[in-house]
Symmetry: C2
Subunit: 315 residues, 2 copies
């Protein structure tokens, strides 16, 4: 059994290279080849914290993976990050523990970013001139980085609620080679970008339907829990394609929940990203289509990224 710390994992894993593995994971998931039991939960009060235990295996694969992720909300006052996490990789033939990946949540950020890149590959129009990033948090960084593997576009418009954080985001992303501008006006961002990623903790719609031009793709990442919402649900009625990483999750606690509740979306219209990976004709077929992808995060992403880390680290 080997233990790898976050620094070693960051050195070994190329986030852009994860994108193909995540696409393949979605294909296997949609094809029913992944065992993903219900998430285990522990909830604490005083100090408040939540622990999620996600685990599963791909049929016929050599591994199973257990991820323990936590959020302890008073950690900031202790000089610690709120989120923490690690992944355990086991030999599926013997139960032997092969590796403890002490990535402290980094691999989760990477696999979530990679899912955005998969959605963009399958649904964004060709020749995007500007990428719109809505949100300025950690995952907004990982989303943009992963898009290197999905588009040649390097021009970005970013929006955030907090001017200071928006400038910090723009500065960091510029240093990573992006030609980035910021706007205080979300309508300007939506009107000027054909590939938009929303990565906020918003609890009511940020993106209005009337702002969305033909030929726009939106990936909604922020709504990963009940009560969160980033899109005007009328956008679902407009959309030619509504995709999700997992239909069962998206219709339970993702952005799609709001489209279903308002009647703008019928669940039968939602197509899983894995189905589009298997049959790209289910993805964008013309430059004027409006498309939406709703990401909630599936354990098969953890399995795939843990396997990639192990392959890179085992030497």
């Amino acid at each position: 059994m080997r233990v790898f710390d976050e620094a070693a994992i960051r050195r070994a894993v190329d986030p852009e290279a994860v994108v193909d593995a995540i696409a393949e994971g979605f294909r296997l998931y949609t094809n029913g080849e992944v065992d993903v039991p219900p998430v285990g939960l522990l909830h604490f009060e005083d100090p408040p914290g939540d622990v999620h235990i996600k685990y599963g295996a791909i049929r016929g694969d050599g591994y199973y993976v257990v991820k323990v992720a936590s959020g302890f909300y008073e950690n900031t006052g202790r000089g610690l990050p709120v989120s923490d996490g690690s992944m355990l990789l086991y030999d599926r033939r013997t139960g032997e523990m092969l590796a403890v990946l002490l990535d402290r949540g980094w691999l989760t950020e990477v696999r979530t970013g990679a899912a955005g890149a998969v959605a963009a590959r399958l649904l964004a129009p060709q020749d995007v001139e500007r990428i719109g990033i809505v949100g300025t948090g950690v995952q907004a960084r990982f989303q943009l980085r992963a898009l290197r593997a999905a588009t040649r576009c390097r021009k970005v418009v970013a929006w955030g609620r907090h001017p200071g954080r928006l400038e910090a985001y723009a500065g960091e992303m510029a240093a990573e080679g992006w030609e980035i501008e910021t706007t205080p006006d979300l309508a300007v961002l939506v009107g000027g970008c054909r590939l938009i990623v929303t990565v906020t903790p918003a609890r009511e719609p940020l993106i209005k339907d009337e702002w969305v031009c033909p030929g726009t793709h939106i990936t909604a990442v922020g709504s990963d829990n009940l009560g969160k919402q980033e899109l005007d649900p009328a956008i679902f009625a407009r959309a030619d394609i509504v995709a999700a990483d997992s239909i069962s999750q998206a219709t339970h606690h993702g952005e799609c929940v709001h489209g279903l509740a308002s009647g703008h979306l019928k669940s039968a219209r939602i197509v899983e990203l894995g189905a589009i990976v298997a049959d790209p004709s289910l993805g964008r077929t013309s430059p004027d289509q409006v498309t939406v992808a709703d990401l909630t995060g599936v354990a098969v992403q953890d399995i795939q990224v843990a396997k990639m880390a192990w392959a890179a680290l085992r030497g």
Copy 2:
């Protein structure tokens, strides 16, 4: 974060010293102070294997524990043990992973043995002259070892279905200081022992009601799953006290299931070991009582033994 292997854990943890911690864990569990969510399960075929993920925390405690245990049934052919397992210990205030205990299942054997000692302390008569051990597997060893912390008796009668394994068991236990004899006749064992532990994978009753003398305590450890059974259910009707580590588990998949099914036992008669720890007057009150304890294994035992290991190992 620190990693400890099986050898280090064995050196640091005294199985007899675990008994008090397990008794306290049962008290907290019965008192509703332990969060033990449903067990996570992964099942594999070809090669066959099962993975159990048990996790939980004691309210107000400094830790939470995740145990990943596996059984891969073709491991024997690979020169590996069938069972494997490890425990992860976390700081409950921050989510920080403190320790990976690579005990390979040893701590589970210890905490299960300790539960038998708790039952014997609370329910076995004073001045037992002979301990009866029914079964010759690994846990039959741990049960007997733990009883050092529950009785002064060092005379043992052992029974097993396989003569070779029975002799091996007797030899090993004799080397550990027990005055041990074996018998091919289970009725002789039951008639001659006032403290009996059953630790077999039996699927039909081994111990007949008519063999059981007044003043006998029986701890049934083997029946940890549906379909397993070690006791004639009529023993439950005879018993003055029927105890269980967990009433909800014992009546779902423990030995008690058979007493309930046959009508020899009403669930309202079952008392939890934790209730007897809190109020010993609920335990044995006279030397002639017949008592039964049904052990199925509760996650609070894992929490308690992992904490003891950490306290001994952290230095």
